[in-house]
Symmetry: C3
Subunit: 201 residues, 3 copies
Amino acid sequence: MFYALDIIGTVAFAISGALTAINKKLDLFGVLTIAFVTAVGGGTLRDVLTGNTPVAWMLSLNHVYAILLGFIVSALFWQKLEKLRVSLFLFDTIGLGVFTMIGIEKGLMSELHPVICIALGTMTACFGGVIRDILCNEIPVLFRKETFYATVCIFGGIVFFALRRTGLNTDIIYACSSAIIIIFRLMAVRFKWYLPVLKAR
Amino acid sequence: MFYALDIIGTVAFAISGALTAINKKLDLFGVLTIAFVTAVGGGTLRDVLTGNTPVAWMLSLNHVYAILLGFIVSALFWQKLEKLRVSLFLFDTIGLGVFTMIGIEKGLMSELHPVICIALGTMTACFGGVIRDILCNEIPVLFRKETFYATVCIFGGIVFFALRRTGLNTDIIYACSSAIIIIFRLMAVRFKWYLPVLKAR
Amino acid sequence: MFYALDIIGTVAFAISGALTAINKKLDLFGVLTIAFVTAVGGGTLRDVLTGNTPVAWMLSLNHVYAILLGFIVSALFWQKLEKLRVSLFLFDTIGLGVFTMIGIEKGLMSELHPVICIALGTMTACFGGVIRDILCNEIPVLFRKETFYATVCIFGGIVFFALRRTGLNTDIIYACSSAIIIIFRLMAVRFKWYLPVLKAR
């Protein structure tokens, strides 16, 4: 179940990367590369920083297939995908919740402090989009207006460690925490929640 | 022989980085740094992702000397190098072929799947140029118009694994595959082969 | 003593990152992230390249607290910090000296060549600022005009290895070398020393 969601999130992230690259008029190889780094960038950074190498996507081809699927779908249907914006946004949000939990889990496996685990979870979920924007030569959207993107990951991580103290079943804790991230994110977008920007008076 | 080509490729990549940086009016330290990352960036990413640390260029000074040579040549003769554009392009293309093979070899040593090995080879050959362009604040040229740069690496990697099934001598396979990359690249530039860009109808 | 200076340097680097991000009108999470990567970016790159993972800041929360302090100070007092420019510059310069020595020490612990150790020290001190500028979508200031920033680190590293041959006490060598970096940097800024840029005649 969790693994299936991981794959769905990977496809969604790959599509988001591919559409950005198509929009920037990159050629097909550029589109494939951006799709790839958007999908695996966060997990790669996490694995490199914690020393879990070779990084995850090198150890089986499932992520590669998921990314190729996202790439092909984008290349064929990019003009129609605009109409599926809502579904894509939902997949992307599922990816956000699942990727955060995967990052936290890997941090726990490396016996790191909860604060560091939450940072790893947030990185796993968000860094793919950051590297996508850097490669496309833009200030990462994450730092400009989509901030609840990262904030919900941090919040979900805090919920995870709070629930963990209750002694609940681990699977239930993972499910609840990712659900909270997903719901919080949907509400943040629906009600246009933003973090403040500091401005000169 | 292979090692000599590695050093030639390193010098060529360092010169390509230095010339880009001089063109961007960076100062001497900036030029040296860009030369350095262009030459070793691909191999560094490969080693970090596969966990072969300390990364290759830290273990002997030969790459450092090769880069210093490329830097000094560029700093002294950059106004004349324009006339040597064809020779430089040839060196750069040799580097492309050799670096791809080195990446594939390292992937095999880490017992990774052929698809991942080809990705590592392509990264080794191409990532230096990507990081050069990011540091100079441009959309990497790789994603915009020089796409056959990466495509020939992937193609060369596929040829390598096809030849490997024939049971030929390993040295011959390496030589053939890099030769194919070099020839394919020369033809791609000569005949102006590009990958398509997706465009709104 | 050395550890206290490390923390002071971390706070100073975090403030420098936060102020840049506020200036770019990033929101609060963007400001925190840029503060974070500016402070730990150099050490992270060093640890990843040498394979000392999980990277240093993951192993205790002291760096996280130092960065949060720098972030809070910046968010509250950013309009007044302009007046403290001289103190901030001093802290930043202390960080430069200390971080260079930490990088060299880690290189020695990995038994790398002095030239590589100096490169690691320079990276530790300078890469945080480079990644700050990349994330804010600018050509790193390091490559454009603040070049003595890196040059003094290299010079301090050479002094370190020269002193090491004399058989002096290690603590004294570290203290002298970082002091030289700090003094050299202050003089470079005071007397406006720059490295040349190559220009067409």
